[in-house]
Symmetry: C2
Subunit: 149 residues, 2 copies
């Protein structure tokens, strides 16, 4: 029944999922408890916090997130007054999103948590290893060129 040399726990997609899930838990607890946010929502929040005002499509392209996810995340974030939406005058299909003061505050808080948390997660690694790990992960993410519409 067992196979010569295949170890499920070494299968990269499996391993990545496990690591992703495990490493997201603690952070999730925080954005959920403090702000009632979902994963899609903190991501949108972070994009706006980091890169400033942008449109849903731009966020989608950067985050590799489907537009319906973003639409719903923005809706909830707007309801809770974390972001504002404003129509573009030139092209009235597009909507510019930006953080409110409250959104900025939440972002500042979570951003700081994230940074600390990231340090904590990679505490066991030397700087070189840490960089190597992230580089490999970026490469893996890029391998499949985001076939999203």
């Amino acid at each position: 029944m067992s196979d010569a040399d295949f170890d499920l726990t070494q299968f990269l997609p499996y391993l990545l999922n496990q690591a992703a899930e495990a490493s997201s838990l603690e952070f999730q607890k925080i954005y959920k408890d403090r702000y009632g946010m979902l994963r899609t929502e903190w991501r949108v929040l972070f994009h706006l916090g980091l890169y400033g005002r942008m449109t849903a499509s731009e966020i989608g392209a950067r985050a590799n997130m489907h537009k319906t996810k973003i639409s719903r995340a923005v809706q909830r974030l707007a309801e809770r007054r974390f972001v504002t939406r404003s129509r573009d005058d030139a092209d009235r299909r597009v909507e510019h999103l930006a953080l409110t003061a409250q959104g900025q505050a939440a972002y500042a808080d979570l951003h700081q948590v994230a940074q600390r948390y990231d340090d904590e997660l990679t505490a066991g690694l030397g700087p070189a290893e840490r960089a190597a790990l992230k580089k490999m992960l970026v490469a893996l993410s890029a391998k499949f060129p985001a076939g999203f519409t």
Copy 2:
């Protein structure tokens, strides 16, 4: 608006999620198209294929999967005649799961695909890097000791 030294795309939970999602896509396509399976289902299948007959709880403990997920995965796998369930005589709460011939065949096929796919994913890395990557991922997965019930 932008922050001195925080890069979202370098935030480990984010990065891991991106990599996990990206690297799962191709494999997902295969188990879905060929066998109509969900992620939970191929995982159960692999556990049985790899470790032989075992119970739902054992799978849950190993795979860090909630019991309801497993219950439903097993249900579907049993309906489609990939696994059989048999009650334990000594303790009639527990059920032993095992692959049918059909289940074995599916496992053999997918197992081989997985192996190839894993090689492909890590093709750009040397053996040492590959090992280091996996080791770090295992460590990250283990960091949070599976608070599941």
